[in-house]
């Protein structure tokens, strides 16, 4: 499977489309023997109700400058949320489906 299949994929829940995958959050564990960076695994997907296209991540970082632009891009990506891997019901080439009871978390990166 390739990451490109997930990015920008439509997100379905209970049969209706609720947004698009704007990013895929990876968890990078401590590295093991023979590698310098741990093998990342999918931690969850960040979903946004609109397809915001170009990706600046203002809504997930505490970056507040440059003020006007940051505010604009945060507004554009309003309503984004994080869904953990375990809450995904199905992943196919053309859509990602969430479990009906999927929990929605804040997209902010710690």
């Amino acid at each position: 499977m390739y990451l490109a299949e997930l990015v920008d994929a439509p997100v379905l829940q209970a049969g209706s489309r609720i947004g698009h995958v704007v990013d895929v959050r990876l968890f990078v564990p401590r590295h093991t023997e023979g590698q310098r960076v741990g093998t990342p695994e999918v931690f969850g997907v960040v979903v946004c109700p609109r397809r915001t296209g170009s990706f600046l991540g203002f809504e997930r970082t505490d970056a507040r400058a440059p003020a006007l632009l940051a505010a604009f891009f945060r507004w554009r990506a309003r309503g984004s949320f994080l869904v953990l891997w375990d809450d995904l019901a199905a992943v196919s080439k053309d859509a990602v489906e969430l479990r009906p009871e999927a929990m929605r978390w804040s997209p902010a990166l710690a």
Binding site: A4, V7, L82
Partner: protein, 132 residues
Amino acid sequence: MTEDLQPARSPSGGVLVDARLSLLDRQMLDVDGVTVGVVDDLELSDVPAVLERGTPPPSVLALVHGPIVLERIFGGKRPHGQLLRFGWDTVAKLGSAVELAAPASELPRPWLETWLRERVIARLPGGRHVPG
């Protein structure tokens, strides 16, 4: 805004990285800082189409570089032929670019670079001369 949602608990002993924000489309540098490619895509381990609870998440097997970027933009079949795989074990550091642990000579090199080097550039006088 995200004020009403709780922040998810991030597992200990590691760090959270957003693939598209911090990994995809980043430059790949060899151990000497020479650009060897761009992260055009990530190869993930496969998972079943239908996910039961507790199915282990896919992990990143390799960074992928090649004329895939045009395919990502205009859609269409993936040209497997020219895809270059950089196994995750060669990754040395995730910074503003992805630093790899091997020199360019030991890493995959797109055929066009090799073809142009051998057929055209190296043949021109001074082709191997370092300017200045």
